[in-house]
Amino acid sequence: MKKILLSTFIAIFSQGIAQAQQSCATAQVINAGVYGMTAINGTQVPGSICISGSLTATAANWYKYTPTQDYAVTITSDFPSNGLTDNRVNVYTGSCGALTCVDGDDDSGNNALCVVTFNCTANNDYYIVFDNQWSSNGFMFELIEDTIQTPNPTNITFSPVSLSSVSGSVMAAVDMNGDHLDDIVSVNATTIQIRKQNSNGTFTTSNYTTTTAQNTPSWSLAAGDLNEDGYNDLLYGGGSGVTFMISDSGGTGYTQVSGPEYVFSQRSNFVDMNNDGHLDAFVCHDVAPNVYYINDGSGNLTFNQGGVGDHPNGGNYGSIWVDYNNDQLPDLFIAKCRGGAGTAKINELHKNNGNGTFTNVSNGTNMADPIQTWSSAWNDFDNDGWMDVVVGASSNADGMHKFMHNNGDGTFTDITSGSGIDTYPGMSIEYVSYDFNNDGFADVLTNSNILYNNGNNTFTTVPYSISVGSIGDLNNDGFLDVLNGSTLHLNQGNNNNWLTVTVEGTNSNKNGIGARVEIYGAWGKQIRDVRSGVGFRYMGTLNAHFGLGTASSIDSVIVRWPSGNIDLVCNPIKNSVLHIIENSGVVPTATFTAGSNTIDEGQSITFTDASEPCVTSWNWSVDPASGWQFTNSNSSSTNPTITFNIPGTYVVSLEAINGNGSSTNISVDTIQVNSTAGLTETALSNIVLYPNPVNNTLHIANGNFGITGVRMFSILGEEISVSYSTNDSSLPVTHLKSGTYFLELTGNNGERVVKRFTKQ
């Protein structure tokens, strides 16, 4: 039946069945239209294919297409009449003997038929090749010409690169040797293979033989520096236990540590759970309470079970450590899944109490949801400074995806409706969030789709032929790349700017896992958590990656470490990698200029701050503490104005403060305030006020100084009336409040002097 039907179609639609498609050199020339073939029997098999998959085909049919103008060309075999015939197409350009891949497809059509669309340039030769990888049966296909659609310029594309000689499963894109360039890690039971990324973009591959791993990372792999030797260690989450591969110092090999405990591992993470500065390890248990391994800092790991997700039937699949309440402590969200009745499928959020204990806050936060989920994508999707989450469904049995907005008050609100998350029909065990197009808004990657964040809590889905894998920057170009098995999908980038922040803990764990990285600029604020273990299975970069969109500068970067330390860097260079070591943040050097250094009494001086870097607050002071006042400013103003009321010498000091601490220096400047009478204090220095301090009556011992006028001022420069007695050169002060006061005395010749006294 099928053959007859196919023959009929061919007879009707085909523009000729040539037998000339045996090889590249004899390729049948085609144009837009429907073509048929009776069998795949061409003798030349292409040397390689343009899509992932194996190539053991023994025959291929070749077609040559040369467009007269630029077109978006679709090749499709997706016709019902092709039935269950499974075919595959690859498209090349160039000349026979020097073909390069354009595109290809295996199964995008119905029933494993193929459909591929690619852009063609006028007058170039394109070779369309069907091989018999799956079937040699004949079928019909169509070539369709269409106008080229201009792609959204912010959407990025990926270019696949095949990695050769990969040993084992590719599980991680993470720096392994402390240079903060992401490396590629693949493992099997006896080998750790590391492709170390070199600064020039090449890789150097090393194979480290291990003792046979008691557990292989069939469910998840995490990386972190447990022994703080500068080389990351690995955790293999296996189906019946957990194995650690600990680097020896120098990174020349790995030593296995395997626990005897039965653990049905799911997602695993490294994180400092008890906040002692040493990385611990956490492993989701599928069928029992979660387990964790506490690191005493001397290389000893102690197995623990209980206290962090204790459902007796488990259901723990996707743990992710995220500081949801901005208290600088990583909290734990567990994406959960379990068939049957019962509560093991209810997602859990555990607040880190900072002392190694955790409180289940799932209900109060609105996060206790029965979605059957294996992972969740956490990021601050609206850049309001609080981590939000897309909880991705693995099955629709208990509800689909949810987009939960962090209200910043310890609760979340369901904003799924209308966000584009509600209409995303796919399901997966893998959801991760990164800014793939560097537009400054974190996106979501799940299998075969990127959900681009539009910046307004909505997403636009764009399909890709990639799935979630290990994610890192594997060519150090500031755009995140994706590893799928032995295929590296290199992000082709766009014109957006970026910043990558790499962190190194000192008081905190060496990887800085759990640190919060914030960047400030024209966009406001963006935040990232440094996390080991996101999504379900793979290990991605430990570097904090930010897209900047079109913003051309960054004001500052703040790292809030799990230890409580804070570092701040100002004005980092865009499109660069910024390395921040804990407590290395520079405190300011205080410096300022004075508008003048000599003035007359009653006049003002404006002081202009010139402290660097990144000063966030100022502390001005003047000695002596009286005889002056701030005008339209205060002691914490950036550029204060001070009015000096009383002649004398003043020392003005500035302390500058930024996120890293106070300036180690105090900047000083001396101000000379002259009497408008022009007399110097020195000539009148024999004048003495007594008793000083005084209770009731202040006497002036004036020598031969003939007093013609007396004025009194408070420390704030306010004039206070006096009743001076020339008889005994005294004045009553009983009515004054305790404090410091000044007398301005005028002599016979108009000369003036200021003396201070203290009222008790």
Partner: protein, 378 residues
């Protein structure tokens, strides 16, 4: 010549002969082992009491397998004590080609009850199910080696698991509930195979043996027992025999929709596959099970519907863009079920637990079935 042998020797000779024969053309598991049963009651006397067996519900699980006294003579010979009934399932779970002997024991005078063809026979409190896993032709010396005996005991609060691991001397098995691995090599039809055999922990037992997290048996459904078993007294239908022996109430329906031996190539492909899926997969792919959130429903009673078997069903998870349907008619290369059955990776393989190597015969069965169908009706 044979007549001069004792019954016991006769039995084992036959077993070994069958095993040897079967080695030449088909796997060992479909062979029906002949196991002596309790002595047949004389018509005028009541069934003898199972005096030998000890199942004290207040102290089980015992530390040693021998404490139950389920077996006569040398325990490794697995000769059941009076009242311990050997049985078989039409199809059985593949566990790295391990061979199995199954027994059921009920307290004296108590009976099991038929509920439905596809429901576990309701057993009384005190009942025990015993399953011993062993290999023949274990390398290098080619001996038979028993690895483990799994027991389920029904207490008033429900079923419990007891896992016993045999010693090297094969004289005793000791309670061990934490799981372990035993590397083993054996000759399978003349080919040396190896596995890192998994002794399950209690949690692994429960992962498959549960409904809504309550422990349950899997195999003893009437649909799996409605077949002939060769006892020393003759070959009988197991269910009828249980009734006649007084351990099953006589309320069986006239017709029982039954599974078949999936390794019996004389049977229809679809029925064989459905039987395989029932005993190997349905404990997780049915309502109230570990994975009931996936669309598959693989119990024999449910795979009547092709979509329950995954035919033309898009998988929830895209493991590989090539695996476009759970079963794509006519194309096993693009069928997720074929990929998972052919995988040994812990996170890709199916079944999830119970095997570390590939059930080659089952993969071939699935391939043959997929190749044989050309539409979504299966």
């Amino acid at each position: 010549m044979m007549k001069k042998f004792t019954a016991l020797f006769l039995f084992f000779s036959i077993v070994f002969a069958i095993v040897l024969n079967s080695c030449k053309k088909e796997p060992v598991e479909p062979t029906i082992p002949e196991v002596p049963e309790a002595p047949a009651p004389t018509p005028t006397e009541p069934t003898p009491l199972p005096t030998g067996v000890s199942v004290d519900l207040s102290t089980v699980p015992y530390q040693k397998l021998s404490e139950y006294r389920f077996f006569k003579g040398q325990m490794k010979d697995q000769v059941p004590e009076d009242g311990v009934m050997p049985y078989q399932l039409a199809s059985s779970l593949f566990t790295d080609y391990a061979l199995k002997k199954r027994f059921v024991w009920l307290p004296s005078g108590l009976k099991g009850t038929y509920i439905a063809d596809n429901k576990i026979i309701e057993l009384p409190v005190g009942a025990a199910l015993i399953k011993t896993f062993y290999y023949d032709n274990v390398q290098p010396s080619g001996v038979t080696k028993i690895l483990e005996t799994r027991i389920m005991i029904k207490k008033s609060t429900g079923w419990i698991f007891a896992e016993y691991v045999w010693n090297e001397e094969q004289t005793e098995a000791t309670l061990q509930m934490d799981g372990s691995n035993i590397p083993i090599s054996w000759s399978q039809n003349g080919t040396i195979k190896s596995a890192n055999y998994r002794i399950p922990s209690a949690l692994e037992c429960l992962t498959c043996h549960k409904t809504n997290n309550n422990p349950i048996p899997i195999g003893i459904q009437p649909q799996n027992l409605n077949n002939n078993f060769t006892y020393t007294s003759g070959t009988f239908n197991q269910l009828q025999h249980w009734v006649s022996k007084g351990i099953l109430e006589n309320n069986l329906p006239a017709n029982i929709v039954s599974t078949i031996d999936y390794k019996d190539s004389s049977k229809p492909l679809r029925e064989r596959l459905r039987s395989f899926l029932d005993i190997n997969c349905a404990h997780c792919h049915r309502e109230n099970s570990h994975c009931d959130y996936r669309p598959l429903r693989l119990a024999y009673s449910e795979t009547i519907l092709p979509e329950n078997m995954g035919i033309c069903v898009t998988p929830d998870e895209t493991l590989d863009p090539m695996l476009i349907k759970i079963i794509l008619p006519g194309n096993f290369n693009k069928s997720m079920m074929h990929f998972r059955l052919s995988s040994t990776d812990e996170s890709n393989r199916m079944p999830l637990l119970g095997r570390t190597i590939i059930d080659e015969e089952a993969v071939q069965l699935l391939k043959d079935y997929i190749t044989s169908i050309n539409d979504c009706n299966g």
